[in-house]
């Protein structure tokens, strides 16, 4: 029906819907790579497109309505299992969505629509490939579900029920009763919980006496009645298993299932909130403290002849405790570990989408997806990695024409690599684009007023330091905002996020050849192995993952170059930083013997001068209070078991390195100007 309603209403809602469609498509692509699309995602897509069609139709916009109708038909076939998702189908979905996006814009610009014939016929081509035969509905005659439930299922819901039966899932009927005042919140919570463990076939409301409202929920799940009933125990739900006669023959669709899907439905995995694992980890840390106390008592007892027999026994208990505790810790840590491939797939979507948007052809290479990392860290890595990738597409990879001229393959390359390195993980984001030119960076930093014109830096000699200028706040943010990488987030935020994970970020770049960002991170932040040291009478701990080497030294080995203390370690001159000086503590420098702890990465190595090494411990880093949170050089605090339960500060190695190198520069500059 033609309507006189303002087109603005259509535009706003149509754009909202298309955005949801795009989001779902990305999930769909991701799920496809991860083993198989979730029925819910396809159905969600179907609903969005369905709404879009209705909307366009009501506004009398024929081309968008027609194309959406075609797309809806395809999605309907897909959700009913008649067309399988493959990369061709996915391309058609993506392409059709961008055509719809253009049509919406054209509707806003007065309704001069482009020809949709090509888009329609590409959908038709896919529709012709219908790949599986319809279901045998007769199985529904052999299931213990009442007619009142069966008759309210939509065709799609019915299909999902049959599919669950063929997959031999357990079918449960849950009856819940809520008060009208808060039923929505409760049923949504209940359904969300159930969705994590299975598929909700339908939610049927029914009247109850008074102000109550009842729901019959039909769920298909691989899990047992006991586990489902434990899961929903707080909802006062009555659960019955729905009996059915399992199909005898293998279902055609089942044969199409990917191996991953087959494994997934058969596996007995549980989903656990990572914060539950965190609290387990805290308990492990507390147990470490308790265990150490036992050890101490055993040692004390040994000094008393009359109880020395108990001392020996207690010592044995202590050792046993230690062994089991470390197994427990490894176990809990292991549960937190997930392959980094999880995030790589998500990033692959970003590459796909942004390459499309920027009109560049990009080939993405993923390596080391099986490398494991703490789940929490993986989540926090998504943003920085995404930004690095956007940057690479935006500023790194050249346009096809330029690449051709340079004799490079037209298709740009972005490579994501991950590999374990000792107790750390290295992740690299690499492109074969135009690289970075230190002299350009230097000029830009001056132009933006980030450093003074009298910086005294040389693009070649101080290459590393110059490149690091891109991490200064304000370096990349105010540049022209492109749709892709310009979101007001600069490289400074990337660096901050990586530092928060106790990680270090390095740049390797060559003008005209490409850029590689190298992120080095600890495997986990939950519990870390730390070196406990003393400097200036204070106790500190240093994450062992940052320690490269420990050297014993005497004052004679320390040399002074350009007013900086340095020391030669393995033929390399390394600047030294006295912790006592950094934190304004009494100088313990008169000692004949001290220790240099070599920390850092790549060219940036630093020797931390400390008075004494104490021991090595597993610690859980706790954040500092607000007032101390931004203290440079300190990452947090942890509890130590040595002697009394005391709190020590954990050093932030990255910021110490930063400070040391900046200080060195100033000193050099002071000398030059003086």
């Amino acid at each position: 029906m033609k309507t006189e309603r303002p087109i603005k209403e259509f535009l706003a809602e149509a754009e909202d819907i298309l955005e949801s469609v795009s989001r779902s498509l990305l999930s769909l692509d991701e799920e496809r790579s991860a083993g198989g699309p979730a029925p819910d995602t396809i159905n969600g897509l179907f609903r969005y497109v369905h709404s879009f069609k209705g909307l366009a139709g009501v506004f009398g916009l024929k081309p968008p309505a027609d194309l959406a109708h075609k797309l809806e038909t395809l999605l309907d076939e897909m959700r009913l299992g008649r067309i399988a998702l493959n990369s061709d189908v996915l391309d058609v979905l993506f392409d059709t969505t961008s055509v719809l996006g253009r049509l919406v814009k054209q509707a806003g610009a007065g309704g001069q629509f482009e020809d949709i014939a090509a888009a329609v016929s590409s959908i038709d081509a896919v529709l012709k490939s219908e790949s599986s035969s319809p279901h045998d509905r007769s199985i529904l005659e052999r299931i213990g579900l009442e007619k009142s439930v069966l008759q309210v299922l939509t065709e799609y819901e019915e299909y999902r029920l049959i599919e669950n039966l063929y997959e031999r899932k357990n079918i449960f009927r849950l009856k819940a009763s809520f008060d009208i005042s808060d039923f929505e919140e409760r049923i949504k919570k209940l359904n969300a919980l159930l969705k994590q463990h299975g598929e909700i076939i339908c939610t049927l409301p029914s009247a109850e006496s008074g102000t109550g409202i009842g729901f019959t929920i039909i769920v298909g799940t691989p899990e047992s009645a006991e586990s489902i009933s434990t899961l929903v125990s707080s909802f006062g739900v009555v659960i019955e298993q729905v009996p059915y006669a399992a199909p005898k023959t293998s279902h055609p669709v089942q044969a199409q299932m990917t191996e991953a899907q087959a494994i997934r439905s058969a596996s007995n995995t549980v989903r656990v909130d990572i914060y539950k694992l965190d609290s387990l980890m805290n308990i492990v840390a507390d147990l470490h403290l308790a265990k150490n106390a036992v050890g101490r008592i055993a040692t004390d007892l040994r000094a008393h002849a009359e109880v020395s027999k108990y001392a020996a026994d207690l010592n044995k208990v202590h050792r046993n405790l230690e062994r089991k505790l470390s197994e427990l810790q490894d176990g809990v840590l292991d549960v937190r570990m997930v392959p980094i491939g999880q995030i790589f797939t998500r990033l692959a979507q970003v590459v796909r989408k942004h390459a499309r948007e920027s009109g560049k052809e990009i080939k993405l290479e993923l390596m080391g997806e099986e490398t494991e990392l703490d789940k929490l860290m993986i989540e926090d890595l998504a943003d920085p990695l995404m930004h690095l990738i956007r940057n690479a597409i935006d500023h790194g990879v050249e346009l096809a024409e330029e690449r051709r001229r340079l004799g490079k393959p037209e298709q740009g390359l972005i490579r994501l690599t991950a590999y374990p390195k000792g107790n750390r993980v290295v992740i690299t984001v690499e492109d074969d684009g135009r690289g970075m030119d230190p002299s350009v960076i230097l000029a830009k930093a001056v132009e933006k007023g980030l450093i003074g014109a009298d910086h005294g830096l040389d693009p070649a000699a101080d290459r590393k330091e110059v490149l690091d200028l891109i991490f200064l706040p304000g370096f990349s943010t105010s540049e022209k905002v492109t749709e892709i990488s310009g979101r007001g987030v600069g490289m400074d935020v990337v660096k901050k996020n990586v530092s928060k994970l106790s990680g270090i970020i390095d740049i390797e770049t060559e003008s005209g050849v490409g850029t590689r960002f190298v992120l080095t991170l600890p495997i986990t932040l939950a519990i870390i192995n730390a070196l406990v040291i003393e400097a200036g009478g204070q106790v500190f701990s240093i994450p062992l993952s940052s320690v490269l080497e420990i050297v014993r030294a005497t004052p004679e080995q320390v040399q002074t170059v350009e007013a900086r203390e340095v020391m030669v370690i393995r033929d390399e001159t390394v600047p030294l930083l006295r912790l006592s000086q950094v934190f304004g503590l009494p100088n313990g420098g008169k000692q004949r013997l001290f220790y240099v702890i070599l920390v850092g990465l790549a060219e940036r190595r630093l020797g931390l001068v400390v008075d004494r090494l104490r021991d090595q411990q597993n610690i859980v880093i706790k954040p500092l209070g607000k007032r101390l949170a931004d203290t440079p050089g300190i990452a947090g605090a942890s509890e130590l078991s040595a002697g009394e339960r005391r709190v020590v500060l954990v050093l932030d190695v990255e910021s110490l390195i930063d400070a040391a190198f900046k200080k060195g520069r100033q000193q050099t500059m002071d000398m030059e100007s003086g």
Partner: protein, 123 residues
């Protein structure tokens, strides 16, 4: 003034239906964005008619119709399905559950107005 409940997840279509409702007579249109909202709205006043979509998240239109028809307090309220169902089957089921009528989107406003009048039985 008689109340009419519109259950539809698209806000634009909701408002278009409301216009038709207001044109059909001196009716007051109450809008619900989804099935849950409809369930919450039903007890708040008496309704002369419910106009609902089928394809909605959480609770679909069929489930809503079944709820209304099995509930002594609401079972006499006529229901009109306004939907773009591809599925003839779903349309058939809606009618089997006791819907008064079915209108396919995009609908002509006059058709909806006529159906509303017929369903409520007003002249």
């Amino acid at each position: 003034m008689k109340n009419i409940l519109i259950v539809e997840d698209s806000r634009s279509i909701r408002s278009i239906i409301r216009v038709a409702v207001e044109e059909a007579g001196s009716y007051f249109a109450v809008e619900a964005e989804n099935g849950f909202e409809a369930l919450k709205t039903l007890p708040t006043r008496s309704f002369a008619l419910i106009i609902t979509d089928i394809n909605m998240p959480d609770i679909n239109g069929l489930e809503l119709i079944s709820f209304v028809k099995s509930n002594p307090a609401y079972k006499d309220i006529p229901l009109i399905i306004v939907s773009t169902e591809k599925s003839e089957e779903d349309k058939r089921r809606g009618m089997a559950l006791g819907a008064f009528g079915y209108l396919e989107k995009p609908f002509k406003k006059e058709d909806l107005v006529a159906m509303i009048k017929k369903a409520i039985g007003d002249r």
